[in-house]
């Protein structure tokens, strides 16, 4: 069992609070991504899990044993975890074999077994045959795999990854995503993965933990975090989003699933699921992803708008339409549709694709 319990952990650096009263439960064999902009505390949290620093408050437990508490930290070398660093941290003075074998040498594994296990793990990361190369003779992607192999060979129950793909070029990054995901499934290791790239997070994770300003904003499966962001910060970070001002005209009941009505751009009425506490007349914002906006002929029901910008991106059309009151709405529609600047259109939105935030 290698679930991780992070319980009310706070970490300060002088006056700044890097992680604030954060609680997170990672299940055994789960792939959890800590996602957020730089400076949000995600790397600090990862280093707290690794034991490179001690929390100022709170505790971190793995499988019931307390590993970190203020003033009582099991050092990294006795945690049995693996870690892959952003710059790979492959030792330049050791060959691929020597890099990968290190963890087993420390554990006093017999030479013959080391050779066998290194061969096996290099096979796993498709580096077989490069045993005697030095890191300087390897490409970035290959160094990345050496770092992975070095961590995997000791068969950790938990693997921590700090932006491991961010130094790779786009193509390689894409391929390594699939490989990482596949690796995690096959090995059953619990992955805690840090990144600032939301598409990477969505592609890889069982659950995403969105962080901002040292706090946890939302934890959930990728689809949920994307379609039901808990707040504007999450909505904004998880991709493109329109924030359209509106006013409540018919409040929902106490049950938030009950649909209410708002007016947009003057008095066009739209049915949406309102958050609790949004009473009649309250100003709100409708968060809508550009791809959730349908563009229909002006004769059909919808919000009247005029197209102001159109860009053909190959796989889709990206553009802006302006509502009556001047609000600009970004739309992304299928590439085979016809859209021209100045064209009068109507915009329609499925109420289920709208999240309403208090303004």
């Amino acid at each position: 069992m290698a679930g991780i319990s992070i319980e009310r952990v706070t970490k300060r650096f002088g006056a700044t609070i890097a992680v604030r009263d954060l609680t997170l439960e990672v299940q055994d064999r789960e792939f959890v991504t800590l996602l957020g902009p730089s400076g949000c505390g995600k790397t600090t949290l990862l280093r707290l899990i690794a034991g490179f620093m001690a929390p100022d408050e709170g505790a971190i437990r793995v499988g019931g044993a307390t590993l970190s508490a203020p003033g009582a930290v099991v050092p990294p070398e006795r945690r049995g975890m693996g870690m892959v660093f952003q710059n790979y941290a492959v030792w330049p003075h050791r060959t691929v074999f020597q890099n990968v074998a290190f963890g087993l040498e420390v554990r006093r594994v017999a030479k013959a077994e080391i050779r066998e296990r290194v061969a096996r793990v290099l096979e796993l990361v498709t580096l077989a045959g490069l045993e005697s190369r030095y890191p300087a003779q390897l490409s970035g992607g290959q160094q990345q795999r050496v770092a992975l192999a070095r961590s995997l060979i000791v068969e950790p129950s938990i693997l921590l990854l700090d932006e491991p793909l961010s130094n790779l070029d786009a193509k390689l990054r894409e391929r390594m995503r699939w490989e990482l995901k596949d690796l995690q499934r096959r090995t059953g290791i619990t992955f805690v993965y840090v990144t600032h790239d939301q598409s990477e997070a969505m592609a890889l994770s069982d659950r995403i933990a969105v962080m901002h300003g040292g706090e946890l904003m939302q934890v959930g499966p990728p689809r949920e975090v994307y379609t039901r962001p808990a707040n504007r910060t999450v909505a904004d970070f998880m991709g493109l989003v329109n924030l359209i001002p509106a006013r409540v005209v018919r409040a929902a009941g106490a049950d938030s699933s009950v649909t209410g009505e708002v007016t947009v751009a003057g008095d066009h009425r739209v049915a949406v699921a309102l958050p609790p506490g949004a009473g009649d007349g309250a100003a709100v914002q409708l968060a809508v992803r550009p791809e959730s906006v349908r563009v229909v002929p002006p004769s059909e029901p919808g919000l009247p708008a005029r197209v102001t910008e159109v860009t053909f991106l190959g796989n889709l059309i990206d553009g802006y339409a302006m509502l009556d009151d001047g609000t600009r709405v970004r739309v992304q529609i299928a590439a085979d549709a016809r859209l021209e600047v100045g064209q009068a259109v109507a915009l329609r939105v499925d109420p289920r694709a709208v999240t309403v935030f208090a303004a």
């Binding site: 710059n87 003075h93 961590s151």
Partner: protein, 553 residues
């Protein structure tokens, strides 16, 4: 295009006069005798008992100094860059001050403490403690290593400290998370990564140690521990044996170049550039109570390398007669003597200041020309120019002097015995520093800044004057200071080139020491240090003001 060739020509001619022709004369002089080719000089240099002994002593001195420089420099570097030892600024300053102290002053100070009969510490152990077995004779190989060490351990310290600081933390953390404890991590990761820097520092320590004429003359001659520089020096006693001196010089050069080549090859093959990325600084090791023990080690270095020499010279300089009860009879008469009665002093001060400023200016100027041609033009021969300008790195000070004498005695120009020949010696010795500084300074200026000026219509001279030079100025000034400081205390070359009119500070101290005037020498040594400190302080302040005013942020 014309400008490039002009600059190239000026630089080439200057380098020829400073380096190539003297070196050629040296080589020629070593294989000829009265115009006829001979290998007799080399045979004598490699067979004669005196010279083989000197060669051996030089190697022993260099080896011991290099090893001990690591023993002292590496732990200090580790403590300052990797631990929570207290008073880091103090420890760092200890290394810097030790490095800046003129080596002959340390030697003279230690003579006052450990000469067999009159040395204060020896008197104390013998007469007060009654333990003559515990006395230490400074006039020995051990003594020579002791007085050389303060000037060589800083090389290892500085290189090791910067290497330790630049090792990416994640390299060590990777070992840790794989289960390696502190010592295992140090042995498997940290040490191999900083080894090239440490070895490099040790080799530079070796090269510098064997080239220090001052300590080897002051300590070695009375102890009959002859080394290459002192043997070469002795060959200039009447009748001078130029040929043998040249051959011995070239053997000296061969050793120096071999050590530097080894250093460069090792560094080139095994220097590890950390990949891009965040690259965090390593965490500091919490030493607990042991940090005071480590600080104690640093204090020991401070006492040996800084406190002992300076306090001793200060005490000797104000005592009527140096001895166990020296504080009972204090006097300032030695200062009065060296400052007002001994007319050599003022001449030496003026000469040294003029020579150091002029040499620094010339070296940086020449360095700028070479650097500019190398980096900003595609003229043929620019690489050769660069290589030639680095030759003096392999020439010990006394060898530069021998080469200049060999060359200028063959010309009709009577510059031997004048300030000019000393200026040539200093400039050629320190040209590599000028070239390196200029190279670094120019490299940091993006060529597009200059191209912008050219596009707007400025000629290359105008561009150089109003864009390149102002931007490079802080770097060039740093180079100027890098030459000025050692030139102000230069002894190894000056000792063969000075006359009573062109005497320099270091030579004045050495000559006065030779006459046995113990207390006045100490006073002159203190005066020298005050002048060096004041000049460095003044130059730094002037340079900083100027640089700040011209470099826009």
């Amino acid at each position: 295009m014309r400008a490039e060739h002009l600059v190239l020509a000026v630089a080439a001619v200057t380098l020829a006069i400073l380096i190539v022709l003297p070196l050629a004369s040296l080589i020629l002089g070593s294989v000829t005798d009265g115009g006829k080719p001979t290998l007799e000089h080399f045979r004598e240099a490699l067979r004669g008992r005196l010279y083989v002994q000197a060669l051996w002593n030089s190697l022993v001195l260099g080896a011991w100094t290099a090893v001990l420089s690591v023993v002292f420099g590496l732990p200090l570097a580790w403590a300052v860059s990797r631990t929570n030892v207290p008073a880091k600024a103090f420890l760092h300053l200890t290394a810097v001050v030790a490095y800046l102290t003129p080596p002959f002053l340390t030697a003279i100070a230690f003579v006052n403490l450990f000469s067999p009969n009159a040395g204060l510490v020896n008197r104390f152990t013998r007469d007060v403690l009654g333990a003559p077995a515990l006395t230490f004779n400074v006039f020995s190989m051990a003594g020579l290593v002791l007085v050389t060490l303060p000037h060589t351990f800083p090389f290892v310290y500085l290189l090791a400290a910067s290497a330790l600081e630049s090792v990416d933390a994640s390299l060590e953390e990777s070992a840790q998370i794989l289960g390696a404890g502190r010592w295992r991590t140090a042995a498997a990761v940290t040490l191999p990564l900083v080894a090239p820097a440490v070895l490099s520092g040790a080799l530079i320590a070796f090269v510098n140690a064997i080239a220090l004429f001052g300590s080897q003359a002051i300590i070695g001659l009375p102890g009959r521990v002859f080394t290459l520089p002192t043997r070469i020096y002795a060959l200039f006693d009447y009748p001078p044996q130029y040929g043998l001196a040249s051959a011995l010089s070239l053997i000296f050069v061969a050793i120096t170049v071999a050590a530097l080549a080894l250093q460069r090859r090792y560094l080139a093959r095994r220097s590890y550039v950390t990949l891009g990325g965040k690259g965090s600084r390593p965490r500091l090791v919490d030493l607990g109570a042991a940090r005071f023990a480590v600080l104690g080690f640093g204090v020991l270095v401070f006492v040996l390398a800084v406190a002992a020499p300076y306090l001793t010279l200060l005490a000797v300089s104000v005592s009527k007669s140096w001895g166990l009860q020296f504080w009972e009879n204090l006097t300032l008469k030695h200062y009065r003597f060296v400052l007002f009665e001994y007319d050599v002093t003022r001449r030496a001060i003026v000469n040294s200041l003029v020579l150091a400023s002029a040499a620094a200016t010339l070296a940086v100027l020449l360095g700028s020309l070479v650097g500019w041609v190398d980096l900003r033009t595609t003229v043929r021969g620019r690489k050769l120019l660069d290589y030639v300008s680095l030759i003096p790195l392999g020439l010990p000070g006394i060898v530069v002097a021998v080469a200049l004498i060999q060359f200028w005695l063959k010309t009709p120009l009577p510059i031997y015995g004048t300030l000019l020949i000393i200026l040539l010696a200093y400039t050629s010795r320190y040209v590599p520093l000028g070239v390196r500084s200029a190279n670094t300074a120019f490299r940091q200026i993006d060529p597009s800044l200059e191209e912008t000026a050219r596009v707007t219509g400025a000629g290359w001279l105008r561009t150089f004057r109003s864009v390149t030079l102002p931007l490079a100025r802080p770097g060039l000034f740093a180079g100027w200071l890098l030459v000025f400081v050692p030139a102000l205390q230069e002894l190894s070359a000056s000792i063969l080139l000075f006359s009573s009119q062109s005497i320099t500070l270091a030579v004045a101290v050495y000559n006065l020491y030779e006459t046995g005037a113990r207390e006045p020498v100490a006073a002159l040594a203190i005066v020298t240090m005050v002048i060096i400190t004041a000049a460095i302080g003044l130059a730094t302040r002037l340079g900083r003001g100027g640089a700040g005013a011209t470099v826009p942020q």
